[in-house]
């Protein structure tokens, strides 16, 4: 790379300029619609009621027990969703990568994305129908005489939230893991076997570590958006299970307190960033040296 850059500064600069020109439409879009609002939120969160700037809003956010509780619930839900999703997605990705004939793989990936054909709201409502108090599972089990009254364990609670979210995010987890598995040269697996390891041990010592970049991507792709999920707790939890995003909405819109709402939003962002960075640091040895 360095040697490429050294082939005359003039041409390098004009190349950079034309590159910048090429990416300018999305760049302008990203700055206007992402960076600018984000900057506004940060500014709001630091503005004080009587004018001026300070950290008072953050103190209010973190001293409020409810905010801490909701943050904790958001993290618990999204970490559970991440765990469930990635653990269930891995075998699917593995199957498609290793056991589906090459010419059928595209079809399988296409089938995996079918849930996206339906609106997310409809999918959430369907889960409500399935898991609800008088839902498919409960009435089915009661018809069969297995239970005498509806199970409380699956409706309007965190489990129901996790099931719904895990289903919604499954394709997002399957695809990066699939790509990572596809990139593994099959001779590595043969080498593992050749060096005396069983199929299972070869998986543990070769396939799994080599697919970790995909697993890490899957974890981040599922974890980051689910922390801030707002629709699912509202619909599945029936308003009884707010997460941090619902709190932000309530504070910002219902109470019309932009400053405090922004402070909660920025705090949540920091927490997500911190968890993600810790996760990346723990797994950095899997990310170095990938070809």
């Amino acid at each position: 790379m360095a040697s490429n850059g050294g082939t005359g500064g003039g041409s390098g600069r004009s190349e950079a300029a034309s590159g910048l020109l090429l990416i300018s439409p999305p760049l302008v879009y990203a700055v206007l619609l992402l960076a600018a609002p984000l900057f506004m939120v940060v500014v709001y969160s630091l503005s004080l009621e009587g004018g001026g700037f300070g950290l008072a809003n953050y103190v209010t956010v973190w001293t409020d027990r409810i905010n801490r509780l909701l943050m904790l619930r958001s993290l618990t839900v999204s970490l559970s969703v991440t765990l469930v999703t990635v653990v269930l997605a891995y075998p699917v990705a593995y199957f498609v990568s290793f056991h589906v004939k090459p010419e059928k793989k595209a079809l399988w990936l296409f089938l995996i994305t079918i849930p996206f054909w339906t609106s997310y709201l409809i999918r959430v409502f369907l889960w409500k129908v399935i898991l609800g108090y008088n839902g498919v599972i409960n009435s089915g089990l009661m018809e069969l005489g297995i239970i005498s009254e509806p199970l409380q364990a699956i409706n309007y609670n965190v489990q129901a939230l996790v099931i719904t979210l895990a289903h919604a995010y499954a394709p997002f987890a399957i695809l990066p893991i699939f790509v990572a598995l596809e990139k593994i040269d099959r001779s590595f697996l043969e080498a593992g076997r050749d060096l005396g390891e069983s199929q299972f041990m070869t998986f543990l010592r070769v396939t799994l570590p080599l697919s970790m970049p995909g697993v890490i991507a899957a974890v981040l792709i599922v974890f980051i958006p689910t922390v801030g999920d707002y629709v699912t707790p509202d619909l599945i939890g029936g308003g009884k299970l707010p997460m941090i995003a619902n709190r932000i909405e309530g504070t910002m819109l219902k109470q019309n307190n932009r400053e405090l709402g922004s402070a909660i939003a920025v705090s949540a962002m920091m927490v997500v960033a911190a968890v993600s960075v810790i996760f990346l640091l723990v797994n950095r040895r899997f990310l170095r040296g990938t070809k």
Binding site: S187, E190, G192, D194, L195, E197, M201, G289
Partner: protein, 364 residues
């Protein structure tokens, strides 16, 4: 066959991929401690055959025996063989020493002893002190050495090498050829090499099986393959050979009398006749170095013919001449060692070509 004189035995091995008949009845024996090569053009089944030994390919019928034991149903991880892959398959997530020690997980030795074994294996392949390096930071030649150390540390009965030198540049390849030969003598393990490079096979092997289209065309030591190829196809694949049409004049049990245009009547011993007798014509084969251009003052050889030089290719130490012998259509190639003070001849020059009937082979 007793256990001691066959390390690998193929008994009528067939392999089908659907309708495609990849191995067509391979029967061969590889001796213990031998450097054996499977040589052939791509798609001839040589890699498939190697992979049946490693356990990566099932065979459709027949048997593969390693050290007297039938390998049917024995998975790859339970076979007394190790492989150096064409891509080397060095695990990118592990360091050099972790790669080399990969197969030692269930070895009962202590950690320190295993570390010492890894160090010794690295030293053996000339990578002393590279243990802590990341595998992805190695050059092609170094990767290959790691692959060798990783396989040899397990002390396999047979080391399988799948075109291990094809990814290296010419100089590096020649150096590794010498090192592999030395290494094989040092460890005394049976090496089986798959290659499409005839020169590589000739340089390195004790014996070579030449394969075409799923069959072994000839199995012999390098000198026999070169001097007595059993078919035109083998002769053409190994080195260069001039082919001339010949007419059979007289056929006896010990010798054949033939006539080849430009070369006259030739008496051919039975040992020089390859293939079964057929009523159709025969072909005479000459290696380029068995023909000589005679300069003035050169002593006359057994036989002489006259010709015109068609093409001159200068190689430094050698010169190749394509000479059209009087009375023939196609030129024959003659290779001459360049000697100081002897001029390289020009295109169009007339030349006396010396040859000996003893150096030719007759293909029927």
């Amino acid at each position: 066959m007793s256990k001691s004189d066959a390390m690998i035995e193929f008994r009528d091995v067939h392999k089908y991929y659907g309708d495609y008949h990849a191995l067509r009845g391979i029967t061969a024996t590889i001796r213990p401690g031998e450097f054996f090569s499977l040589l052939g053009p791509s798609g001839c089944g040589k890699t498939t055959l190697l992979r049946t030994i490693a356990g990566f390919e099932d065979i459709s019928s027949g048997a593969v025996l390693v050290d007297g034991r039938d390998m049917a149903g024995v998975p790859a991880n339970k076979r007394p063989t190790n492989m150096v892959f064409q891509s080397y398959a060095i695990f990118p997530h592990l360091s050099v020493e972790e790669n080399v020690g990969f197969g030692l997980r269930r070895d009962p030795r202590s950690k320190e002893e295993k570390a010492r074994a890894v160090g010794e294996a690295l030293e053996m392949v000339g990578l002393k002190g590279y243990g802590k390096r990341a595998a992805h930071a190695l050059s092609g030649g170094q990767r290959q050495r790691v692959a060798l150390a990783r396989a040899l540390i397990l002390k396999p009965k047979v080391l399988l090498l799948d075109e291990p030198l094809s990814a290296l540049d010419k100089k590096m390849r020649e150096q590794m050829q010498m090192e592999l030969i030395k290494l094989q003598r040092q460890v005394g393990i049976t090496f089986i090499l798959v290659t499409h490079d005839q020169e590589e096979a000739l340089v390195m092997s004790d014996r070579i099986a030449v394969m075409f289209e799923g069959e072994i065309a000839q199995l012999a030591d390098p000198e026999t393959l070169y001097r007595r190829p059993n078919s035109r196809k083998v002769a053409d694949f190994i080195g260069t050979m001039n082919f001339l049409p010949a007419k059979v004049l007289e056929e006896g049990p010990e010798a054949v009398e033939i006539e080849a245009a430009g070369f006259g009547r030739i008496h051919v011993e039975a040992s020089q006749v390859m293939g079964k007798t057929t009523p159709e014509g025969a072909t005479v084969g000459f290696r380029p170095e068995t023909l000589t251009i005679l300069y003035d003052g050169n002593a006359a050889t057994d036989r002489e013919s006259m010709g015109t030089i068609d093409e001159v290719v200068y190689f430094g130490d050698m010169t190749y001449y394509d000479v059209r012998i009087d009375g023939t259509d196609a030129p024959v190639r003659i290779s001459m060692r360049n000697v100081f003070g002897r001029p390289v001849l020009d295109i169009g020059a007339r030349a006396r070509v010396g040859w000996s009937p003893g150096a030719l082979v007759l293909f029927r």
